[in-house]
């Protein structure tokens, strides 16, 4: 059902944990549909993401997309991190089953939520960042693709 990369990130998730006094933290998803993701970011004074950690309640794909998303944003600037879309996460994982695409949307949204928190704490605006929705199921028009699966 899952690609080898998904299984690898599920079995050996990268960046599980918390960051004490994070620059930004975002929690998205809901327990009703069975997925909750929390992403912590440590962002330095130049706007570069030094570290990213996550905690996830959810299925194999939810864990794997969280793991991959944190890997992808590490070392990137805030602006670059905004380019880590759900599609990018899915491609990096060699695809997801169609019913699991929402997990990648959740990962993208969790990154955005953490960045939003960072922006609010620092009273700055990040160009291109919209206020994230807490519940991904409510978001319309999200990019749904299962390419590579």
């Amino acid at each position: 059902m899952y690609s080898e990369k998904v299984m690898d990130h599920f079995n050996n998730p990268r960046n599980v944990g918390e960051i004490e006094q994070p620059s930004g933290v975002g929690t998205v998803g809901n327990a009703k549909c069975g997925d909750i993701m929390r992403i912590y970011l440590d962002i330095d004074e130049n706007g570069v993401i030094q570290d990213a950690k996550f905690k996830t309640f959810g299925c194999g794909a939810a864990v794997a997309t969280s793991s991959m998303a944190t890997e992808l944003v590490k070392g990137k600037t805030v602006q670059e991190a905004l380019q880590v879309t759900n599609k990018a996460v899915m491609e990096a994982l060699d695809g997801l089953p169609p019913v699991k695409v929402h997990c990648s949307l959740l990962a993208e949204e969790a990154i955005h939520a953490a960045l939003w928190d960072y922006a609010e704490k620092n009273h700055i605006q990040i160009e291109g960042l919209e206020k994230p929705v807490a519940d991904i199921e409510e978001k319309e028009g999200a990019e749904e693709t299962t390419e590579g699966y």
Partner: protein, 393 residues
């Protein structure tokens, strides 16, 4: 990892060697069509009738009340749809419960689109349907009550005898989906006032793709599959001879061994439940502690999600199942777990372990040890657990 620990016997079971041995000649030697006239086909026809007799005796019915089908789902579909059709002049109201198998629920929903009205009864926190609630739901136009004998997810055994009595007193037909119970629990259609009963062979070490519907003599149910004149013109299609023979043999063994097997499996299940509840914190048992199928144990582990748990168990060679949404491809967790009042986030963390007579204590202990490790690992990854720990620090 080489060994397999199979703990999903409520999903399906291994065919017993004795059952397979009984089946093989009906593929290789006695392959004649049992409906044919020549002597060669006689052996196949005789074997079908022999199986019919064993099954009938096992539930206190007459052989002519047993109709072979392609399995439990077909039996449920047939019983419910044919009753709705045959008794349309009397009424269009059906009573069932919220925890039935989808073969019953989706059939009822289908009939609702075709003019039937269905009452889906609530269950209590253990999944019990109350006979009083059944009685209260009866209307002048009620034509059928369909309540399962035992639940496939949480194992709860329903008060079928009492519900059957209510149906009888009110002159309403009573169907029971006994797919999980047949061969595992004693059944008597007379004492339990059952008019129709669905069963399947592969839940009791028989082959897949074969089952039967018991239809009480005198019921006007019509054929569901049209074509040949098999099963006294009520179920068309060439008989699955080997499958039927296998079901007969599996039932014969199950009836013979029931007491012994049930005692063994129940003890093992109790050991499993006791260990899990004692050793894994924030865990609940779903379904009634005692009034449950011998081989069923259903748990919910808070703060974690079932599919992750299943994948990690699988990596340890352990096969189990979950009512988590992710395992069904839907967003909602199991309708059964929601019906017993569990909130979504707890229902998502469910695990069903179903044992067989071949399960060993060593396998159960190994499984509990793995569950402990895996649940702890997933909780350490869970934001829900993090919040819980911080809140209670």
């Amino acid at each position: 990892m080489s060994r397999l620990i199979y703990l999903d016997n409520a999903a399906t079971t291994q065919v017993e060697p004795e059952v397979l041995d009984a089946m093989i000649p009906y593929f290789t030697e006695y392959y004649g069509n049992p409906s044919a006239i020549y002597t060669f086909a006689g052996k196949a026809k005789g074997a079908i009738e022999e199986a019919r007799k064993i099954l009938a005796e096992g539930i206190g019915a007459r052989p002519e009340e047993i109709f072979f089908t392609g399995g439990g789902s077909e039996s449920d579909n047939w019983a419910i749809k044919a009753t709705a059709e045959a008794y349309a002049a009397k009424g269009h109201h059906i009573i069932t419960s919220k925890i039935e198998h989808h073969a019953v629920l989706h059939t009822a929903e289908y009939l609702e689109k075709n003019g039937c009205e269905v009452t889906y009864l609530d269950v209590d926190e253990n999944g019990l349907v109350s006979p009083e609630a059944v009685k209260a739901a009866i209307r002048p136009d009620t034509i059928l009550i369909s309540i399962m004998m035992a639940n496939n997810e949480i194992g709860t055994i329903e008060p079928v005898r009492e519900i059957g009595a209510v149906a009888k007193e009110n002159g309403i037909l009573f169907h029971t989906d006994a797919v999980q119970a047949f061969g595992h629990l004693p059944i008597n259609v007379e004492e339990m006032h059952i008019d129709m009963l669905s069963a399947s062979a592969h839940k009791l070490n028989g082959p897949k793709g074969v089952g039967f519907l018991y239809i009480r003599r005198g019921l006007k149910l019509r054929s569901f599959l049209h074509g040949g004149a098999q099963e006294r013109q009520r179920r068309a299609g060439t008989h699955n001879v080997a499958g039927i023979v296998g079901m007969g043999k599996a039932a014969e063994i199950a009836f013979r061994e029931m007491e012994k097997r049930s005692a063994y499996v129940t003890e093992l299940r109790n050991h499993l439940i006791e260990r899990v509840l004692a050793e894994v914190p924030y865990t609940r048992l779903n379904g009634d502690r005692w009034n449950r199928l011998p081989g069923n144990a259903s748990f919910c582990f808070r703060f974690i999600e079932g599919e992750s748990l299943l994948i990690l168990l699988d990596q340890n060679g352990i096969c189990a199942s979950s009512g988590s949404a992710c395992t069904s491809g839907a967003l909602d967790p199991s309708h059964v777990l929601l019906a017993i009042g569990l909130p979504h986030e707890i229902a998502h963390g469910s695990l069903r372990i179903s044992l067989s007579g071949k399960t060993t204590k060593e396998e159960i202990d190994f499984t509990v040890d793995r569950i402990k490790e895996i649940v702890e690992r997933l909780r350490n990854m869970s934001p829900l657990y993090e919040d819980f720990v911080k809140k209670n620090a």
